[in-house]
């Protein structure tokens, strides 16, 4: 471990950032409301066995859990005690204490704040719902059928994007402030801005004078450049100008259909303009081939083609499995459960145990030690609803 403690005080929108910090090697202690704990514990999909939310089980692996209601009697003081013994605070902007106030009280802290939207904007006070952030971020408009309803990405991607941005920012802040004596820092990450910076969405509008339209899975320049049905499923195929000679190899792969013999089709831009003539030929040829035939044949010719895989496919994918995609996490009682490997794996952090997400308040000793609480005081605080029993 890095020997640095982060107190995590977040809504579900901030939990992925904390998970990445834990994967990097920070000790992450998560504050949860007494009683029901983090909302992510209850967000579906749920694990049938325990009824716990998978977002919680994934994002809160490797963390410790303490219960604390900061707004309850004595809660603010306990927060100060925790922060006094920590190096960083990861918080979402919907918490009831201003980050600048916490920075004043704890000048040594690195404070990372997740904001769903720019606070000075129209959406500044909106709840941090993934759907709303993702919609406002610009990528949802680009996703789905051209004439149909746009569709949001699966799996809380606004939390993933914003969380990765925030984990980077906080780690960078630690780099610039090597010890407590250097003083702390407050860094704000705007999740909508993090999404809006992607895909050249803004610069494409500035450059073309119109917004990039929705085109289904069709790539803006590549043809083939989308999902194609085949005999037993779907593949994604891409042939573009970025790979010299790829169109010729693709024609050979198709068996040199005469309908595609026009030499002008060699240029991807020309193909894109005539996609309605090109794609039906491809679809016809692909229709009676299997996913395996198409992918194997294409890759043998160094053509970018991949199967459209399901989550089940991922869990059995020989390449991903050979590369350690599936790991295990262990509970405090020694039970082992499967767990996908983290998004980043640092060699120096390889020996950090993959702990299963903690039960609520499993690590309340951290709070007790930070605040020097005896059992009597703890019981009184529990009776007041400030901590759990």
């Amino acid at each position: 471990m890095l020997g640095l403690r982060v107190i995590e005080w977040v809504s579900p929108a901030g939990e992925y950032a904390g998970r990445l910090l834990a994967d990097i090697g920070f000790e992450v202690v998560k504050i949860e409301p007494p009683g029901l704990g983090s909302l992510s514990r209850r967000m579906p999909p749920l694990w049938d066995q325990s009824g716990e939310g998978v977002l919680h089980l994934y994002c809160n692996a490797r963390k410790q859990s303490v219960t604390l209601d900061v707004s309850a009697p004595g809660g603010d003081h306990l927060l100060d005690c925790l922060l006094g013994r920590a190096d960083a605070l990861l918080m979402t902007s919907d918490q009831p204490v201003d980050p600048s106030e916490l920075a004043r009280r704890h000048p040594h802290l690195i404070i990372g704040v997740a904001q769903s939207f720019p606070p000075q904007g129209k959406w500044g006070t909106l709840p941090a719902e993934d759907l709303l952030i993702f919609a406002a971020g610009g990528l949802m408009y680009l996703s789905g059928e051209p004439e149909g309803e746009p569709v949001c990405a699966p799996g809380w991607q606004s939390y993933i994007v914003g969380g990765a941005q925030l984990a980077f920012a906080m780690a960078a802040a630690f780099w610039s402030r090597p010890d407590r004596g250097a003083g702390g820092e407050v860094v704000y990450v705007c999740y909508q801005a993090a999404l809006a910076a992607q895909e050249n969405v803004i610069s494409d509008f500035e450059g073309r004078g119109h917004s990039t339209p929705r085109t289904g899975s069709q790539h803006r320049t590549a043809v083939p450049g989308r999902v194609y049905p085949c005999r037993d499923g779907f593949v994604h195929f891409m042939v573009s100008n970025a790979q010299p000679g790829s169109w010729e190899r693709f024609l050979e792969f198709l068996g040199n259909p005469p309908e595609l013999s026009d030499s002008r089709l060699k240029d991807a831009i020309y193909r894109r303009e005539h996609v309605d003539a090109v794609d039906p030929v491809i679809e016809r040829i692909f229709a009676d081939k299997t996913r395996e035939e198409l992918v194997t044949g294409a890759q043998r010719r160094h053509l970018p083609c991949a199967p459209v895989q399901s989550l089940t496919d991922l869990c059995h994918d020989p390449h991903l499995l050979a590369r350690g995609f599936l790991d295990h996490a262990v509970t405090s009682s020694g039970q082992s459960y499967p767990m996908p490997a983290p998004g980043i794996r640092l060699p120096d952090a390889r020996d950090i145990p993959m702990r299963w997400a903690p039960t609520l308040g499993a690590d309340n000793r951290v709070l007790k030690e930070s605040a020097d609480l005896d059992d009597t005081t703890w019981a009184a605080l529990a009776a007041a609803g400030t901590v759990s029993k």
């Binding site: 990097i24 579906p44 999909p45 600048s100 904007g121 719902e129 759907l131 952030i133 919609a135 406002a136 949802m140 408009y141 680009l142 789905g144 309803e149 949001c152 990405a153 699966p154 799996g155 991607q157 993933i160 994007v161 990765a164 980077f168 920012a169 780690a171 802040a173 702390g184 820092e185 407050v186 860094v187 801005a193 809006a196 910076a197 050249n200 610069s203 494409d204 509008f205 289904g216 899975s217 320049t221 450049g225 999902v227 891409m238 890759q299 991949a306 459209v308 989550l311 089940t312 496919d313 390449h319 499967p338 996908p340 490997a341 998004g343 980043i344 640092l346 060699p347 120096d348 952090a349």
Partner: protein
């Protein structure tokens, strides 16, 4: 607060950047935002493909390249020249990070493998961003970002429920998110280097990292033995929740009702059947989701998007626009917050680009600096970093090492 000189938490960090296209440059862009000196290595024989993404003949007229390479310094080196490996080694000896996302084996064929770099600088953090990874049965596959969306489960899941054909997204979403993860990994590796004194080698295979981005849903599949249903725009525990058409063509509003009180407020706005007792509580709305959605849709279709959003937000109902590029370019919150700013470019003129999504209270970040022209800083970087004299530079130019 911003400054003209490189400034930020990563000021003093120097990156030797061989990446191209999207994922790698987006990763090193984050570092440049935070003040790192990013030396972008190109070759006139092999430029960054994003310079010609739009089919433009003039490689300096690419706004997508200008977008993803802001604040970097550009050098051109013929990497296949017999003296190239030695020059690169000299540069690497003065760098903290080396990044690349070539196909597997390219760096090795250039004589620039990990052992070579660490021999000249054991403190280097070397970052590889291969599409499929540098090992494994499919490590030799050719795959671009959109292929990887299909391979990693995103295309299958990024759909409306019951879609006959998986459409997914046209975007290169994974390139960007893997880039962000790469940046976080580098920052983490710097912290570890401070403890250990040693560099490291990081490999973020886009396929593996991307599959982890669906980690919670993969975990659900592993634990429950069955994939969770595709939900599209629906929230499994909130009704209504989704994407609703407005009066204008192709204008949409995302809306989600967090609880029964929010529904009561929305139902009052919609009126009529929406205020039916059957929908008052969540269980009823869940049972009658289709009907509730139809009522909301019928209402939103009669409203201009801006009027609708104003009503909803004023009533405390979670709603946001499904933003287009134009919406984002003109978003007051993003502009006023400094997240979209003008940048001057010698060929493109003054353009608005997104900037860092991060704000540091105490540490000023470098003000928006433009992307480099091809080879713009070759001489200057070699003078400043290597102390190269004019004669040396002329010689390198004459022999074709520098372009």
């Amino acid at each position: 607060m911003t400054t003209a000189q490189p400034s930020g938490p990563l000021a003093g960090i120097r990156v030797l950047d061989f990446t191209h296209m999207v994922a790698g440059p987006y990763m090193t862009l984050q570092m440049a935002y935070l003040g790192a000196e990013v030396i972008k290595v190109e070759s006139r024989r092999r430029i960054d493909g994003w310079r010609v993404r739009n089919g433009n003949r003039d490689v300096e007229m690419s706004w997508p390249f200008a977008d993803h390479n802001k604040g970097k310094r550009g050098i051109t080196v013929n990497l296949k020249h017999p003296l190239a490996a030695e020059l690169i080694a000299r540069l690497a000896s003065r760098c903290d990070v080396v990044t690349e996302n070539f196909s597997t084996g390219v760096m090795e064929r250039l004589g620039l493998d990990d052992a070579y770099f660490h021999a000249v600088n054991p403190r280097l953090i070397i970052v590889h961003l291969p599409a499929m990874g540098r090992s494994g049965p499919r490590s030799d596959w050719v795959a671009w970002g959109p292929n990887l969306l299909a391979y990693t489960g995103f295309t299958h899941r990024w759909n409306h429920p019951g879609a006959a054909v998986p459409v997914g997204t046209q975007t290169s979403y994974l390139d960007y998110v893997v880039g962000l993860h790469g940046a976080a990994a580098v920052a983490g590796a710097l912290l570890w280097r401070r403890r250990t004194g040693k560099g490291t080698v990081l490999e973020l295979a886009q396929a593996g990292t991307a599959a982890s981005l669906l980690g919670p849903l993969v975990l659900s599949t592993l634990l429950n033995g069955i994939e969770p249903p595709v939900t599209g725009n629906h929230h499994p525990a909130q009704v209504p929740s989704g994407c609703y058409p407005c009066r204008e063509p192709d204008a949409w509003c995302a809306l989600t009702v967090a609880d029964d009180r929010a529904w009561a407020r929305l139902a009052r706005i919609i009126g009529g059947e929406a205020e039916d007792e059957a929908f008052r509580h969540l269980p009823g709305r869940l049972r009658h989701r289709k009907r509730v959605d139809a009522l909301v849709r019928a209402f939103t279709r009669t409203q201009n998007r801006e009027d609708l959003l104003s009503q909803l937000v004023a009533a405390g109902i979670g709603a946001a626009p499904v933003a287009t590029g134009e919406d984002l370019a003109k978003d007051g919150g993003l502009s006023d917050g400094g997240y979209v700013t003008p940048v001057d470019h010698p060929k493109l003129g003054r353009r608005r680009f997104p900037g860092p999504a991060m704000r540091f209270v105490k540490t000023p970040l470098t003000q928006s600096r433009r992307a480099p022209l091809l080879g713009e800083h070759t001489a200057r970087v070699l003078r400043e970093v290597l102390g190269a004299e004019a004669d040396e530079l002329r010689e390198w130019m004459a022999c074709g090492l520098l372009e």
